[in-house]
Amino acid sequence: MSAYSNRISGFAITGKFAISLIAVVVTQGILAFKFKFFGYIDLPLICSVYYGFTIGNPIASILMGSTLGLMQDSLSGAVLGANGLSKTLIGFFAASAGSKFAVDQPITRIFALFLFSLGDGILVTILGLMVGPAASGATYSGAVTRSLLTATFNTLLGLVLFGYRDRLSHATT
């Protein structure tokens, strides 16, 4: 890969990272506060999965997921590091899946999004409960239901956004 290509790739990753950052701010700071429904949507997770699939750079995916998760924790009042840890793993696994599976197929995306969302929900809940319910605000009752709901909504929204992003990419190339 040439220096020019590396520079282009760097710009692309930085741009995607900025978009993800805005997504975190929007979802946690504005939408979830003003619209109750957005409490069931995890845009940072969708961003981590999508860019893990498409960037093709596991290190960038890990760093992106890690940073997004940390910011999410900071703004959401969750245990600091819980979402960071979860999104770090998601970034890594998404990047690995992107290099091994046909992630442009809807069925793969549905499967991946649902599993990643469910795993994220369970991991964050467990970590929150380990540190203490007062710190995480999580309770045993309803945690599974909430994780399933969040996974479902994330899968649906992720499919829509992925499809839209794909069409946008095809239109510009």
């Binding site: 700071g29 093709g56 596991p58 910011m71 703004l75």
Partner: protein
């Protein structure tokens, strides 16, 4: 890209491990309360706060513009429609009010019709002479039985007489016309007299048998002796009595009982009473 993944596999694990250790450490520190990690939150919050504010302001601005402008696009049309509707309803209300008033007037005239003054017909005033002569035009004529010298009255009193009658319209000389004269009698003492129009609002007493008992507030009724107006219909009320004599009687001004300035429906007496020639408005309808 897959080539990069293969080439950089070792650093990937290193980065992953470092990231996981950092996050685990943060979680662990919070659990054991060994280190206050709030400074990390504060730093991130301070960094993202302005962006959050920017997004919030942007969404507020978009919502503001939407609410104030785009959401009002249909409001103009709706406003116009509602204004039009209000105008229509106002016109309808005014029309209804007019109909109610008209019904009241016609009911009063109908009461008068049944009071024994003879055969009558209701006519509508459709025009007024704006010149010197005090005349009005009504929408009834010969075809309806209206003839020259037919008496025109309202429920309040005498209006005038027909001076010209066509097939379908007639011209009525009002009693306040300067060429008009009505045979009257004083309601209180039944003394006979004549009142004449002056061309202005009030009438003048032109003749009376004895003017000694005349006082302000007395009423004049038609005497029936002029053979135009049936006997007993209110003509007017004395508004002033002056000792200054005009000829050999006192100067007496009479205000017409009927509101001659606001005539809309009138009653034409097309045939005089056959039996009783005395009409007393205080007695009410003959056939209630």
């Amino acid at each position: 890209m897959s080539r990069i993944v293969v080439e950089s596999k070792k650093p990937v694990w290193i980065v992953l491990t470092i990231a996981l250790v950092i996050h685990t450490g943060l979680i662990s520190l919070q659990g054991r309360r060994r280190l206050d990690t709030s400074f990390i939150r504060m730093w991130i919050l301070d960094t993202l706060g302005p962006m959050e504010k920017l997004v919030d302001r942007s969404s507020f601005s978009v919502r503001y513009v939407w609410d104030r402008y785009f959401a009002l696009i249909g409001l103009h049309d709706e406003n116009q429609r509602l204004k039009h509707e209000v105008d229509e309803l106002r016109m309808q209300m005014a029309n209804d009010r007019e109909m109610v008033l008209e019904a009241q007037r016609i009911r009063a005239l109908a009461g008068l019709q049944d009071s024994g003054i003879g055969k009558t017909i209701v006519a509508r005033v459709i025009g007024r002479d704006a010149g010197r002569n005090q005349t009005v035009t009504i929408d009834k004529g010969r075809a309806h039985g209206v003839r020259k010298d037919s008496a025109i009255i309202t429920a309040d009193g005498v209006v005038g007489r027909v001076i010209l009658s066509s097939n379908f319209f007639s011209i009525v000389q009002l009693i306040d016309d300067s060429q008009s004269a009505v045979g009257v009698m004083l309601e209180s003492n039944r003394r006979l007299g004549i009142v004449k129009g002056t061309g202005s609002r009030d009438l003048d007493l032109d003749y009376i048998d004895d003017d000694n008992d005349i006082k302000q507030g007395d009423r004049f009724l038609t005497s029936g002796q002029d053979r135009v107006y049936p006997k007993g219909i209110p003509v007017g009320v004395i508004t002033s009595v002056s000792d200054v004599r005009r000829g050999y009687i006192k100067t007496v001004e009479v205000r017409p009982s009927a509101d001659l300035g606001r005539l809309e429906e009138v009653l034409c007496i097309i045939e005089g009473p056959q039996t009783a020639d005395v009409f007393d408005p205080t007695q009410g309808p003959a056939n209630p």
